[in-house]
């Protein structure tokens, strides 16, 4: 041992450096192990990392106003080059003069040739609604636009002089933008480029984020309140009985999500089982049946049920190994059954509560199908709006920005959990 400090370079029997020999001896095994995980690594890269990276990129990059891609050939042509040049020469807030409108007219001709007015207009329309038709109309009439260009455009539509429109076009003329993130938190830019709130009647996203957060916390709490006693029962019953009960907990888990959600619809709707029963018993008049669906109640009830196993299983896995002698010891030491539970049993289940809560919360923050089916208008979550922008409004950049915010929130939560409880304490089963 003493000569290791004196001579740090150890050698093998035949004089080669020990470190190199060790690395060579283990290299083969390392490569083989790596080959085993390679398929999974590739799978994750292709199906998980790449799409997320693309999504994140999409949320700050939109070339709808700078590039036209021919659908058939895939040929890419830059558009709006003249107006981009004008924006580059003139600082933000410059009153658009004749030169600007001349550049715009030139670009309109290109749009007309390429039949790209719709997509370019759509990009502007994301941030200033009602703009798309102005672009299609201008492009249609591109050949008839004669100097003076400004009057010609105003003749087509008075809004062409709107400073807000020019602010949007200036921002859109470079593909990289933070505007979608601003929009995702109900902010916009003034014509001067200052950040301000959008009009009150158009504020959607912050409210929806808040509602998503609130409902997720509520659902997490409900699954905890319902799941804790069940998990405790599962953990303390003799194995023969607890296996049966476990099947009852897991059975919904194995049933299709759609089936479970629709069965809640059967139960909750105003002509549904619960209302019929209440009316039948006479607790409710036929006229005032409870509205339990297409609102937040529906979302909360159905999601609590569907996410319950994600709470019960981690709880069960921490409760099972807790030796009953801990509680007995506490009782023999003079604790009442409540004190024994609260001071001795409960603290030992915190890791399971943390894991279950994190799991349920993260799942419910991004939940989509159930709120879409039973949520109605007031029970929609942020993911429903993301889906709307993906499928209906086709504003993918905004959808990506919303999704990125959601992802960021979840990551922050995960980080917080790691700081407070420690991820290595996370027991999922």
């Amino acid at each position: 041992m003493s000569d290791t400090t004196a001579n740090p370079l150890l050698t093998t029997a035949d004089g080669k450096p020990l470190k190199a020999a060790l690395a060579r001896a283990e290299r083969r095994a390392r490569y083989r192990a790596f080959l085993l995980v390679l398929p999974l690594l590739a799978f994750i890269l292709i199906t998980f990392v790449t799409p997320i990276a693309q999504m994140l990129h999409q949320s700050v990059y939109n070339e709808g106003f700078t590039m036209h891609t021919e659908i058939g050939s895939g040929e890419r042509t830059p558009i709006m080059v003249n107006i981009k040049a004008w924006f580059d020469e003139n600082p933000a807030g410059t009153e658009p003069g004749e030169a600007a409108f001349a550049a715009l007219a030139e670009d309109m001709k290109t749009l007309r040739e390429l039949r790209a007015a719709g997509s370019a207009g759509t990009r502007i329309n994301y941030e200033r609604s009602g703009t798309r038709s102005m672009f299609t109309k201008a492009a249609r009439n591109a050949n008839k636009i004669e100097p003076p260009f400004k009057e010609a455009f105003v003749d087509l539509d008075e809004d062409w002089t709107d400073p807000a429109l020019w602010r949007v076009m200036r921002d859109a003329s470079t593909p990289y933008t933070m505007n979608f993130y601003l929009a995702a938190i109900d902010l916009t830019k003034s014509p001067d480029g200052d950040i301000e709130s959008v009009a009150e009647n158009r504020q959607v996203y912050v409210t929806l984020f808040q509602r998503t957060l609130f409902l997720s916390v509520l659902i997490t709490f409900l699954t905890f309140a319902l799941g804790y006693p069940v998990a405790h029962l599962l953990a303390t019953l003799p194995l023969r009985h607890s296996n049966l009960l476990m099947i009852l907990v897991l059975l919904p888990f194995w049933t299709s999500l759609l089936v479970r959600t629709t069965s809640w619809m059967v139960l909750l709707q105003s002509q549904g089982v619960i209302n019929d029963a209440l009316v039948g018993v006479g607790l409710l008049g036929d006229g005032n049946r409870l509205q339990m669906m297409y609102n937040q109640i529906g979302t909360v009830v159905a999601m609590t049920h569907i996410l319950l196993p994600f709470m019960v299983l981690p709880l069960y896995s921490v409760m099972r190994p807790i030796n009953p002698s801990y509680v007995r010891a506490a009782r023999s030491l003079g604790a009442t059954s409540w004190t024994a539970f609260w001071r001795i049993y409960f603290p030992q289940t915190v890791a399971g509560i943390g894991a279950g809560a994190l799991l349920v919360f993260i799942l419910s923050v991004g939940y989509y199908i159930t709120p879409a089916l039973v949520g109605g208008a007031s029970g929609q979550l942020i993911s429903n709006l993301i889906a709307f922008h993906m499928q209906n409004s086709l504003n993918w950049s905004l959808a990506a920005a919303l999704a990125a915010l959601l992802l960021g929130g979840v990551l922050i939560l995960y980080w917080l959990y790691d700081r407070l409880v420690g991820i290595d304490n996370l027991k999922l089963g």
Binding site: N323, S325, Y326, R328, A329, A330, R331, S332, L333, G334, A335, T336, S337, T339, A340, R343, I344, P347, Q348
Partner: protein
């Protein structure tokens, strides 16, 4: 300490029965009286009902029938936390999320004892088990023996008069176990507490206890001091369970002047101490301790019956020699002799004659 049936009995089991399923009795008609300050061990094979008795005393199981009294008062309907009984569990049951100090402080906190008082008591209890410097550690950071000491300190810190121990040394290695046996008995006697100790290890029971209750089949087979238990077992179960024992089977031929003449199944006659045989013709199991057997003719008493034996195996064990013989058809007849300079080392195949004092040879139930 002698068994006392006086009115100042501290712990009393009065005709206690326990059944879990309503079909079989785990504890059948248990009667037991313990004076204050006694160290009593419940010894028995697993399933003999000893742990159930302990749990009934602690309050975790209810007696199906009968009365359990503590200091003269029936405790059948007192919940465990009001009994004020300290308990040491088999797996120690130290609360894993608390430090050692918090573990010890817990019974004092739930008794609403003031902080300064608490600190002093915890400190004293930890020093008592020589764990004074470990207060800030968690149970998982301690070795098995250290955890055992802490569990002991925790059961004692609130100064209970009665402490129950459920196989507390079961998880320790042999050396540590022997050390702890000594420490526990010393502590119990110096504090003057009453201890009910459950174990299935007979050596532990013999070395630690004032009295040992041997359990089998839900019944106390014998309740006596360790030496009486070893030297004067009252039935063949106790004789077999406590220590090593040679058994010969036969029939009582006659009983004269307190000596029973037993005819073994191969026809040989021996003199025995009639323990629970009363009349001629009864079947009996004769029990002799291996160290009470003599094969040196010069040392045998005049006129005693001897048996022919063949040496099957000689095992050198250091301090003693262990010789396996064939006696009256029994191939597992063991003789233990001290490794003294003049001791004869028997050779396998040798034919010898063995004998013993009639009072060492106990004719028990068949």
């Amino acid at each position: 300490m002698a068994a006392s049936q006086t009115s100042d009995a501290f712990v009393e089991f009065d005709r206690v029965q326990k059944s879990y399923d309503g079909e079989t009795l785990v504890v059948k008609d248990l009667n037991l009286t313990m004076p204050r300050g006694e160290f009593l061990t419940m010894l028995g094979p697993s399933g003999s009902g000893k742990t159930t008795c302990l749990m009934m005393l602690a309050g975790f199981e209810t007696a199906t029938h009968g009365d359990i009294r503590l200091g003269g008062k029936s405790i059948n309907n007192i919940p465990p936390h009001k009994r004020g009984i300290g308990m040491v569990f088999q797996n120690y049951a130290l609360f894993p999320h608390m430090t050692i100090h918090e573990n010890l402080s817990f019974p004092l906190e739930v008794r609403n004892i003031g902080k300064s008082d608490r600190e002093a008591k915890v400190k004293r209890a930890l020093e008592m088990v020589e764990m004074g410097s470990f207060g800030t550690r968690r149970p998982a950071q301690l070795s098995g023996g250290q955890q055992q000491r802490v569990a002991l300190a925790r059961a004692l810190v609130f100064e209970p008069e009665l402490v129950l121990m459920d196989e507390p040394l079961g998880a320790l290695d042999k050396q540590l176990r022997e050390k702890m046996q000594f420490e526990i008995t010393n502590l119990a006697h110096s504090l003057g507490i009453t201890v009910v100790y459950v174990t299935h290890d007979q050596t532990e029971a013999l070395t630690m206890s004032d009295r040992v209750a041997v359990f089998d089949d839900g019944i106390i087979q014998q309740l006596d001091s360790p030496d009486t238990l070893y030297e004067k077992p009252m039935n063949s179960f106790v004789a077999q369970f406590i220590g090593e024992n040679n058994t010969l089977e036969g029939r009582v031929k006659e009983i004269n002047n307190g000596v029973a003449l037993v005819q073994l199944d191969d026809g040989e006659l021996i003199d025995c101490n009639p323990v629970n045989v009363t009349k001629a013709g009864e079947r009996t199991r004769v029990s002799i301790r291996p160290e009470r057997i003599e094969f040196n003719k010069a040392r045998l008493q005049e006129g005693v019956h001897t048996l022919k034996a063949e040496v099957l195996e000689f095992i050198y064990m250091g301090d003693i020699f262990r010789t396996r013989l064939r006696v009256a058809g029994n191939d597992e007849f063991i003789v233990k002799t001290r490794n003294a300079p003049d001791q004869k080392r028997l050779q396998p195949g040798e034919h010898i004659e063995i004998g013993w004092l009639p009072e060492d040879c106990r004719a028990l139930d068949a």
